[in-house]
Amino acid sequence: MDVLLVTFLRALAFGTPLLWAALGEIVAERSGVVNLGVEGMMLLGAFFAFATAQLTGFPALGLGVAALVGGAAALVHAVVCVRLRGNQYVSGLALGMVGVGIAGLLGRGWEGTPLRTPLPELSWLTLSGLVLSGVVWVFLYHSRWGIILRSVGESPAAADAQGVQVFLVRYLAVGFGGLTAGIAGGFLSVAYRPSWTEGMTAGMGWIAIAITVFSGWDPLRAVAGSLLFGALFHLSFRLQGFVAPELLKMAPYLGTILVLTVATARRGAWWQEVPEALGAPYVRGER
């Protein structure tokens, strides 16, 4: 029982950044825009949160800065693929590269330093992540704004005909995704592992995108997904005495591929929820 409780708590701690990042990606993708730059936005968030917290002594302020930086980065992606109709996959990848590069460049002098004023690992941030998923759920399924957002992701032309500002909705949704991705990264550097190391997100951004797909773009199922992958990461750490650590580190990534495949193979139930216009740029006056 004790082991279960410990595993649950650890899964909760590790699942927190995954959940924050996945919630943002769900909202962005519901508006029809894939943002593959989550990893880069998280790293930017992690670095700026750490630097701010270290300089001011206020980790919460660091999280605020992380949110702004993540949001700003996401808006670059939005401009490129909403306004300029660039390829969403490639633009997101590019954003990821820029984020990884800038965080690595600016963060060089801070490498390895522990944070003076860390937040506790399980804190209001974990709790508010859970609350946020409820809020996003209510927003998406039980509010007028949520219906507008989803209609933009399903059929932008129809939404446009109804007088919805398709571009504006997409900017806001992608920006929100950046905001939460920034906070997700910030959580890593001010609470989970209060320090800055280059590449400290280690692929979590990609796992968050996988959770988005796995959850069928549903914020409540994303909670389950985040806990599942959090537990997977924890177990891969716990089993280190028995198996080579490098092989264990593969486990969460292999697990993600497996779960993703199973989730998408179940076409009947969840996969149908994929926003119809996902990945396609909207051009006014076409179709």
């Binding site: 401009v79 996959y89 990848l93 984020g99 690595g104 460049l105 990609w206 995108i209 998408t264």
Partner: protein
């Protein structure tokens, strides 16, 4: 249609080579300006940074072989990815496929009973096969169960990297390498020949050039190439025409993964002569290869100049690391910004701008 001053702007879905080049150069210029902003934030004056880059690459005759050396893996990866992207197979896993090729080459070099003369061909064959296999898995996951390849190929990069870590720390750790995470040195018969005193391993360079030509012929002159193009431009039409997605997707996955595998063979057999930590085998060539393919605008031959350009970026990264003490991450910033500007220039690319005579009318007419 829109008229700006004396210019008439009309949409043009298939831009000419000249216009593609102009737009690409504009995007590169934009990326340079944006990168200047990042250098400035880092505390290096942009002009100083650019002067250092130019002095260390264009103006230094010793730099050219280094540029080509960096371009070799980029050319192989990029010209393979052009094929994948043409068929709308988003293979983002070249990094892992490079590592797979390196692992296969190491296995052959250190543990196979092949006679010395067959060692190098054997390494290339094995590297191609394992790289292709590493890409075939996500292709099959997509074809059979619909798992999106962007995620699966990317996640496999992490699996490959930890796999290499495990090999060099564990079963393949060199007997003479106390404490270091290396395998033993390859026998000399498994070293690729170099061009003169440079570090250009020419057999891989020849393979890369040959691969780009092969890809171009494949796309334009063969049935499979036709199927790849139809599949990429209109999957619905491909289905009606009876072109099975299985064949095209699997083919481009194998070809692009295999090419990346060859790049991995080149890195270990041409430069390091041993397997070592993943970050030293590929310094992000797999991701930069995406940029090479994008810059090539869908033409495998276009990967030749774009791989060279990216080789220049990587060499600049080296120069700035040495001269300005900047971290090598600077290449990521460059690559990312380049890619961002290239993607953002799509609308400009799909325009035709012509000068019209008799520009007496109003400067701006309504856009449609």
């Amino acid at each position: 249609m829109r008229r700006i001053g004396p210019f008439l702007v009309t949409p043009n879905p298939s831009p000419s080579w000249g216009w593609s080049t102009i737009v690409s150069l504009l995007a590169i210029a934009g990326a340079l300006v944006a990168a200047g902003g990042v250098f400035w934030a880092y505390g290096v004056a942009p002009l100083v940074a650019y002067r250092t880059m130019a002095e260390g690459t264009f103006l230094d005759p010793r730099a050219l072989p280094e540029v080509v050396r960096r371009a070799i893996p980029l050319l192989l990866v990029g010209s393979g990815l052009v094929l994948a992207f043409r068929a709308q197979f988003w293979n983002i896993g070249a990094e892992g496929q490079i590592l797979s090729g390196a692992v296969a080459a190491t296995g052959v070099a250190l543990f196979s009973p092949l006679p010395p003369a067959l060692l190098i061909p054997g390494m290339f064959v094995a590297g191609f096969a394992l790289g292709a296999l590493w890409a075939a898995v996500p292709a099959l996951l997509r074809l059979r169960w619909g798992a999106h390849e962007v995620l699966t190929t990317l996640l496999l990069n992490y699996v490959a990297a930890y796999g290499v870590e495990w090999l060099v720390h564990g079963p393949w750790k060199g007997s003479s390498m106390m404490g270091f995470a290396y395998t033993d040195l390859f026998p000399e018969a498994a070293w690729l020949p170099l061009l003169g005193t440079t570090r250009m391993h020419w057999p891989t360079l020849a393979l890369g050039l040959g691969w780009a030509i092969f890809g171009s012929v494949l796309l334009s002159r063969t049935v499979l190439g036709f199927e790849i193009r139809v599949q990429g431009e209109n999957p619905e039409a491909a289905r009606y025409a009876g072109i099975p997605a299985t064949r095209t997707v699997l083919a481009v996955a194998l070809l692009s993964g295999g090419a990346a595998g060859l790049a991995g063979v080149g890195e270990v057999a041409g430069i390091h002569h041993r397997l070592l930590s993943p970050g030293q085998i590929s310094m992000g060539y797999g991701y930069a290869g995406i940029l090479v393919a994008w810059l090539a605008r869908g033409n495998p031959l276009g990967a030749i100049p774009s791989a060279f350009l990216l080789g220049l970026v990587f060499t600049s990264g080296d120069v700035m690391q040495v001269a300005l003490q900047m971290p090598f991450r600077v290449t990521d910033v460059f690559n990312g910004l380049l890619l961002l500007f290239l993607v953002g220039s799509t609308p400009l690319l799909q325009m035709r701008i012509r000068r019209v005579s008799g520009a007496g009318g109003e400067a701006w007419t309504s856009s449609s």
